[in-house]
Symmetry: C2
Subunit: 339 residues, 2 copies
DNA sequence: TTGAAAGCGCTAACAA
DNA sequence: TTGTTAGCGCTTTCAA
């Protein structure tokens, strides 16, 4: 069976307490005792029982990340990069990462409650925020540590990291208008997602600034998947007056839109222009390569994790709320490179 | 503060023991007591302290998945889909999933030891096996539950799920030979990965069966990334006698190879043929779409998780070792569809 | 049907 | 510098 602190106490002839303190390098233990205990512990291959430690310390050194989705859709590189960013940073601190999947349905809150009240994690990272987000309401009200990737409607009195979607989309529109486009379509994310609001707002404000209006027929709601982008682009291209540019609110939908356009014989970048948002690893290598807005998801994962761990340790944050400036990445799909 | 079993005991006037038994629905508690206790528990919003439960029960209902990589590379959809598959299945059982990232360096084993000996998880899922895999050696020797996605050299006396890479690559080669290709190049994974061996073996056996030899100049080692595929394909295309087909051992490298070929003005599917392995979500939508071998990673994640949980519960497995038959997916990049 | 008591492995206040 | 003791919240004998 497993080696416990008790075994070491017996083997060294010291008390359990002394062993505990020696192992934790307290300075009220004699040097010799410390050496002895540590040697014996190493010999016996002692590793502390974490539940016992945690039960005692009332801290878990674990952070929770509940992915708001189920099923194979996690092929979306978004989640992989995010997990990498959060997990790597957690590892640096010696923290663990508890990952669950739970679609945003009526069971969603149960899992947060269970993990919080069961004291399984010291804090949560919240991703893919809705405009009204009960996860955030709940955590705010219980006063439990959390950091958000994204924002919500209403008062933003919690720590978050987000990229400025308004500015990002505005940059895209600016660019397209400068290239001469006037009939610009937009494929948006599901309405309940907060970033849908920001990105659409960016589109509309930038258009307005150039005296352009969004034709309601050119505004279509997608589901963030390639399949969705494909379907919506098909519908747009079938209009009596099709757009000259399609602005998709994420890369995946843009890829779907490109497929749809190509399938109908369009040369993307020449006959029609398509852009994305996220700058996934694929954007650079797709054909044509995708004009998009860069979003450093891995680094954001790093940041939110770092902030959360500091919070759980009672530290205060230098920057509680971070809004990243987006960077436009011009590639071939907008035609600027193509010619 | 948190509600404990003690609070409920006080509130109901029952003993701690009785409360515990009532909550766990033991049948030596009177119906009334049970109802009373459960009502009060619900009112107070009681949730068991999992650390205490686990300390007591010596079981964690948590499984460990340590991703053998670090850094932003988890954009690889492989890991996202795997986590989804494992996580969803774990959720079905009410199990948690503990995810870590740890590159296969000399610190690698420390994290396994810590989690195992700290009794943080009931079992491990091992992925991306090396030909000689110390993770498996260690777990085998400690007799700790684990299930492997992949195989190793030597005796396969542990539970695993894998897809038959030999058959998969053979199917690709068969197909290409039938299309008339004779000069076929291969971009392989890093040598230490076990599936590199199988996939290369599949290529060579299938070639041999047609009396063809692999020109050593056409065999190049990649690193599983797009960037790597790009570089190796460039080298191949610059040969005095370039290949007519490039068989990449995963989709990512195939995408890189496609980019390289296109950049040099080749029409992929006509001037050169490129294939992948995995059938990632992107393969279908790339341009040209990618001929590849399907690997149901999400489902494999489901399977290994299911097997592992059964193992940790002391159940025996109907099928301890599963070798999945691969399915060839013919699309445009091999020229069969293109015409 | 219930409760008292022990103990899971550990940490920490207090005494010696 | 060390050991005694209590206790984290829970489950589980054992006795009543």
């Amino acid at each position: 069976m497993a080696v416990t602190i008790k075994d070491i106490a017996k083997a060294t002839g010291k008390s359990i307490t002394t062993v505990s303190r020696a192992l934790n390098d307290y300075d009220d233990v004699s040097h010799e005792t410390k050496l002895l205990v540590q040697r014996v512990a190493a010999e016996k291959g002692y590793t502390p029982n974490l539940w016992a430690q945690r039960l005692q310390k009332q801290r878990t050194e674990t952070i929770g990340l509940i992915l708001p989705t189920r099923g194979p859709r996690l092929g979306d590189p978004f989640f992989g990069q995010l997990i990498a960013g959060v997990g790597d940073k957690a590892g640096e601190y010696g923290y663990d990462l508890l990952v669950s999947t739970q679609a945003p349905d009526r069971d969603e809150m149960a899992i947060y409650k269970k993990k919080l009240q069961g004291r399984q994690v010291d804090g949560f990272i919240i991703v893919r925020t809705r405009r009204q987000d009960r996860r955030i309401d709940y955590l705010r009200q219980t006063d439990f540590p959390f950091v958000v990737f994204g924002r919500t409607e209403g008062e933003l009195d919690y720590p978050y990291v987000d990229e400025d979607g308004v500015a990002g989309m505005a940059a895209i529109i600016e660019h397209l208008v400068r290239l001469g486009h006037r009939r610009i379509a937009c494929i948006t994310p599901p309405e309940e997602l907060m970033f849908a609001t920001y990105r659409l707002q960016g589109v509309q404000e930038a258009l307005a600034q150039h005296g352009l209006d969004m034709d309601p027929a050119l505004l279509r709601r997608g589901d963030l998947t390639q399949r969705g982008g494909f379907a919506e682009a098909q519908a747009l291209l079938a209009l009596p007056q099709p757009p000259t540019a399609i602005v998709a609110c994420n890369d995946l939908m843009a890829f779907g839109a490109i497929s749809a356009a190509q399938q109908q014989g369009f040369v993307v970048g020449r006959d029609i222009v398509i852009t994305g948002f996220d700058d996934t690893p694929w954007a650079e290598h797709s054909n044509p390569s995708l004009t998009t807005v860069h979003q450093p998801i891995y680094e954001i994962g790093n940041m939110v994790c770092d902030m959360l761990i500091r919070l759980t340790q009672g530290q205060s944050l230098e920057q509680r709320q971070v809004l990243l400036k987006p960077r436009l990445i011009v590639r071939q799909s907008c035609g600027a490179d193509a010619s």
